[in-house]
């Protein structure tokens, strides 16, 4: 059987780069196969995808050596449109991919470009919508959809073109666990029906259920592993990719690290009220997103906010810094209504890290970017330089060569995230608010990033939004669960884990949160109260390492 796409010894060097982004890549994908591509940020995954879908070298100028075959044909002789007939691409951020003004228009777009008759377009759109369970959304506008729905619509927009191979670029980066499973189920059904899929994803634990036929592990452009899933799980570093919890336990059993099981410290003692919501109704314009919010987040706490896409998590914490004004009720920071605080008073209490770190980068150099905040606060030149130096050291960016003279936008995504934290730190806040701090980051970068933030000097409290349930439970002192326009749970991680009414195991279950292997293990082996251990430490405990008595 001819492979749908075949790469043989492909090396890619972008015109503007010195080093190759992809080195000697070899992979073959046939009908009915799922190929997983994993690796840390900057490993060459995106370049591999662009070679397969033809954007390299057609849209991105690059030197390409080696052979790229599509349906057995040399890809250099095939137009982008010709490749698109075989290869469909689901981009990482569906909001960038969806161009239609309604779901129906979005599904129709690709077929319209191919000159298909309107009656056939309509019939195929209805069929694919039924297949993905989105037929009720056909008349909806894309901006009305949740992140999960939008991802499914983008997928349907590709599926309707009936490509033989679908490329899925980090499909889980912006999705809650239920939405992730819906999308992965759709991919599984597509492959069962004779299609093939090439999936790039850091969260390997979620992809395991798809049982990929081949795993390609890339690092710095080179292929470090190419083989079956079992072999990959046996050799993959848990620090580099997020492995299934069962794999972590197996790893401890086969290669014990010899470390003892150390009980988790108690949750941090709550200090004074830092952020208080008093009967607050929050929303935009005339739309209420959250109702009757009454709660206090204290100084000294690490608080995780969990909930589905579109549940109102961001709305809750954006209200803390005045980005959302309460429709009624009050939001208080250090007992003062947020809307009465000037920018300078506000930033002295709270630093806010947006999902997109490039949202505010405008200076020519990192040095100039760092001085912007302190200068706004009226600091002297000497103070500004000292504050900038301390902030850069705190996020471990000071070791990067010539970091101060580099343009901020030339930094990698992970480095930009660190810089964004440093920029917040230059204002010397006491609390940090983080919106999806690990989205789009590989396991190693995410862990280092969070470790660095959790140890920051001068920050007494961190409030963060995440879809990563395991991370939230193992990093927080307290967890708030948002659903159906209100806070439905507010407790310690242990109490949340043991509240079985909050959890479900299948899509459509009654609980708000989707249960993971980590959660099940934590319920069985973890502490009955307080904090939860990190996945790696809990796996050690499950594997039977001797516990150390509490001091």
């Amino acid at each position: 059987m001819t492979a749908l796409v075949e790469l043989q010894g492909v090396t890619v060097t972008y015109r503007s780069a010195v080093r190759p982004a992809l080195v000697d890549a070899t992979v073959s994908i046939s009908a009915g196969e799922i190929v997983l591509v994993a690796g840390p940020s900057g490993c060459g995954k995106s370049t591999l995808l662009r070679v397969v879908n033809g954007l390299v070298p057609r849209s991105y100028r690059a030197e390409v050596s080696g052979d790229v075959l599509v349906n057995g044909q040399d890809a250099t002789a095939v137009s982008l449109r010709g490749i698109a007939d075989t290869v469909g691409t689901l981009l990482q951020n569906p909001a960038k991919q969806v161009v239609g003004h309604s779901v129906l228009a979005e599904l129709a777009f690709g077929l319209e470009n191919r000159g298909v008759r309107p009656a056939e377009i309509l019939s195929r759109a209805q069929a694919v919508a039924r297949r993905l369970g989105i037929e009720d959304l056909l008349e909806s506008a894309p901006h009305e959809l949740s992140g999960g729905q939008l991802q499914l619509v983008a997928f349907a927009g590709i599926l309707i073109l009936e490509p033989a191979l679908i490329i899925v670029d980090e499909p889980l980066a912006n999705l809650d666990p239920d939405a992730s499973h819906r999308l992965l189920d759709a991919v599984r059904e597509y492959v069962r029906g004779g299609g093939a899929a090439l999936i790039v994803e850091h969260r390997v634990d979620e992809i395991v259920a798809l049982a990929p036929d081949l795993v390609l592990y890339l690092d710095q452009g080179a292929t470090r592993y190419s083989g079956d899933l079992a072999g990959f799980l046996a050799v993959a570093s848990p620090q580099a990719v997020k492995l299934p919890f069962r794999t972590l336990v197996d790893r401890h059993r086969s290669e014990p690290d010899g470390l003892p099981v150390v009980p988790e410290p108690d949750c941090a003692t709550a200090g004074a009220s830092r952020l208080e919501f008093v009967d607050a109704h929050l929303g935009y314009g005339r739309t209420t997103i959250l109702s009757d919010v009454t709660t206090r987040l204290h100084a000294g706490e690490r608080v995780a906010i969990l909930g589905h896409n579109g549940a109102g998590k961001s709305t809750l914490l954006r209200a803390a810094v005045g980005l959302v004004e309460p429709l009624s009720g009050e939001v208080l920071l250090d007992d003062v209504p947020v809307e009465t605080l000037g920018a300078k008073d506000l930033v002295a209490i709270c630093g806010y890290l947006f999902q997109n770190p490039a949202q505010a980068l405008f200076s020519d150099t990192v040095a100039a970017e760092l001085t912007f905040g302190p200068k706004n606060l009226g600091r002297t030149e000497a103070e500004t330089l000292e504050i900038s130096r301390v902030a850069l050291e705190a996020v471990l960016l000071h070791e990067e060569p010539e970091i101060l003279s580099r343009p901020p936008r030339t930094l990698s995504f992970g480095q930009q995230r660190r810089l964004a934290v440093a920029l917040a730190l230059t204002l010397q806040p006491r609390t940090l608010i983080l919106d999806e701090p690990t989205a789009g980051q590989d396991e190693r970068s995410a862990t280092h990033f969070l470790d660095a933030i959790w140890d920051l000097p001068g920050i007494d409290s961190i409030y963060f939004i995440t879809h990563d349930i395991d991370m939230a439970l193992s990093r927080a002192d307290r967890v708030l669960v948002v659903s159906d326009g209100c806070i439905v749970a507010d407790d310690t991680p242990a109490a949340i884990v043991h509240d079985t009414g909050l959890w479900h195991t299948v899509v459509g279950g009654t609980g708000v949160l989707r249960e993971t292997d980590y959660v099940r293990a934590a319920r069985e082996h973890g502490p009955r109260s307080g904090r939860m251990p990190r996945a790696w430490d809990l796996a050690r405990q499950v594997a039977g390492a001797p516990p150390v008595p509490a001091p």
């Binding site: 879908n53 954007l55 057609r58 849209s59 137009s79 982008l80 449109r81 698109a84 691409t89 981009l91 951020n93 909001a95 960038k96 991919q97 969806v98 161009v99 003004h101 309604s102 129906l104 228009a105 129709a108 777009f109 690709g110 077929l111 319209e112 470009n113 191919r114 000159g115 309107p118 377009i121 309509l122 759109a125 506008a141 894309p142 901006h143 590709i158 073109l161 980005l323 920018a343 300078k344 506000l346 930033v347 709270c350 630093g351 806010y352 947006f354 997109n356 490039a358 949202q359 505010a360 980068l361 405008f362 912007f372 905040g373 706004n376 606060l377 936008r409 920029l423 917040a424 204002l427």
Partner: protein, 274 residues
């Protein structure tokens, strides 16, 4: 950030029209208004234009800021400019008493120049009144189809559609950037120095511009990967030009023909002075 253009016409008279009507009427209004110099005729055109606008039933609260912008623009550009230019245009008239002289530039304010400026102001208002439904009464997505059906190449038609989508998205991105910079203590002090004002905008304009380019690149990739522009395309959305649509366009077409004929035959009334 994905934001959709605003559609405010609901099921109103214009909301039910073929979108090509809403593109054609302002174009024809420009043809008529550009040729009318008699204030009385222009006043009649303004009444027709606002009747047309009212039939879209666009809620005023939704477009108050847009109208404020248009009124300020019209009063400054047409009103003041009209008085200066109108002084020359009406200089030969007999009934053209000078009421005052503008200090520094020495331009006389005459009854003729006021008549000219009023005519100019009404001309812009008539065009704006028929133009607003084009912006707010065409359903998102219909714009590209309408332009394509009017004979424009589909790449160009879709480009217009994406531009309409791009503008509110950029406005949302700007709002997010303002929020992000405010959280870095950015509160520029008020200044009357225009250069300082421009420099103060740098922390906002640079990120918005750069992010817009990055977003645009992603959109181009998304279009390329689905074969956009590689062959003649079809449109799922079918437009039907009904009898009422013909009547509305026919009426404005008649006005345009009358105005053009009057101009070409020298029967179009000249500037009318109060």
């Amino acid at each position: 950030m994905e934001v959709s253009p605003r559609y405010l016409a609901g099921r109103s008279f214009l909301g039910r029209r073929d979108p090509r009507v809403l593109i054609g009427v302002p174009a024809l209004t420009v043809v008529v208004a550009a040729q009318v110099e008699d204030l009385r005729v222009m006043a009649a055109l303004v009444v027709i234009a606002f009747a047309y606008y009212a039939s879209a039933r666009i809620p005023l609260r939704e477009v108050r800021s847009n109208w404020t912008f248009v009124l300020v623009f019209v009063l400054i550009m047409a009103g003041i400019n009209g008085i200066i230019v109108g002084a020359q245009a009406s200089a030969t008239s007999d009934d053209n008493a000078t009421l005052a002289t503008i200090p520094l530039i020495g331009v006389p304010v005459t009854i003729g120049s006021i008549s000219y400026a009023t005519n100019l102001t009404l001309r812009f208002l008539a065009i704006a009144a028929t133009g607003f439904p084009l912006a707010f009464s065409i359903r998102p997505g219909d714009l590209a189809v309408a332009f394509a059906r009017l004979g424009l190449p589909s790449r160009f038609a879709y480009g217009i559609d994406l531009t309409f989508k791009f503008l509110p998205s950029t406005a949302a991105s700007l709002a997010e950037t303002i929020a992000a910079q405010r959280l870095r203590g950015y509160e520029p002090p008020p200044t009357h120095n225009p250069i300082k004002k421009v420099l103060q905008l740098r922390p906002l304009m640079v990120p918005v511009t750069v992010n817009s380019f990055i977003d645009a690149e992603d959109v181009v990739d998304a279009l390329d990967l689905r074969g956009f522009g590689t062959q003649k395309r079809t449109w799922l959305r079918q437009l039907r030009f009904g009898a009422v649509d013909y009547l509305v366009v026919g009426f404005f077409l008649l006005l345009a023909l009358l105005a053009t004929t009057a101009s070409l035959t020298g029967r179009m009334p000249a500037l009318w002075i109060f």
